[in-house]
Symmetry: C2
Subunit: 109 residues, 2 copies
DNA sequence: AATTAATACCTAAAATTCTTATGTATAGTA
DNA sequence: TACTATACATAAGAATTTTAGGTATTAATT
């Protein structure tokens, strides 16, 4: 199973960006979407995902809506206004970091 | 003082790549070189750097040579053969991660 | 002359973030 | 009946970094 290790801090950025594009998603859906988009390269573990979602919610970045679908619970998350702003910041931060790394280790992509 | 946070795992890659280009360097020199190459964007703290260097040495990636210059100690590190191979691996890993992130969050660079 | 900044090494406590390992529960499939 | 997929969750441990200290010499500033 090929599975790149996450680099510190990038999980939050991934979550925010996906929610920015898909309006609302639930946790399990996020893990599947990441697998799909990266062709199995990156597997978000639930042990990392759920605590991250809870923290983003506690920080006011996400709103939650619990829905019962086929007798199973789903917790749909969506960006708050702050969350949308934070998404922009995080994406800039990531862009910037990649540029910085290129200055250090040469062209990478 | 602008200072991007390091993403987990990237410090080792930075150290290896710099040593790959400069043959031998000492710790303090690495911090200064990173500052210079990133125009102050990235500051490698000594609390992160020295333990990393010691670990790379313990893992057989680096050789050390202690030199006294102007009555001050310098510990010059250079890549071992394993270290050179590991540098290639780490750079590939980073390249791959950036590609993966692009698949997730769109073109970033 | 005395303090501060720069050079050069170091470690330890704390914080952060992730992996690994569990646990619960329902629905569908072999 | 057992396994897989769906869907949530937490807790212990590992890994890496920040923060905060410590030692010592030399150069620059006050």
């Amino acid at each position: 199973m090929p599975n790149s290790k996450l680099y510190k801090g990038s999980l939050t950025t991934i979550i925010l960006k996906l929610l920015n594009e898909h309006d609302k998603m639930y946790g399990y859906e996020i893990t599947q979407k990441v697998k799909e988009l990266t062709k199995g390269e990156l597997n978000i573990t639930e042990g990392a995902l759920y605590p991250s979602l809870h923290k983003l919610e506690a920080d006011g970045m996400l709103d939650v809506e619990v829905v019962k679908v086929e007798n199973r619970l789903r917790k749909y998350y969506k960006l708050t206004e702050s969350g949308t702003k934070e998404t922009v910041n995080k994406l800039e931060e990531l862009q910037n970091y990649i540029k910085t790394m290129q200055a250090l280790v040469g062209k990478l992509a």
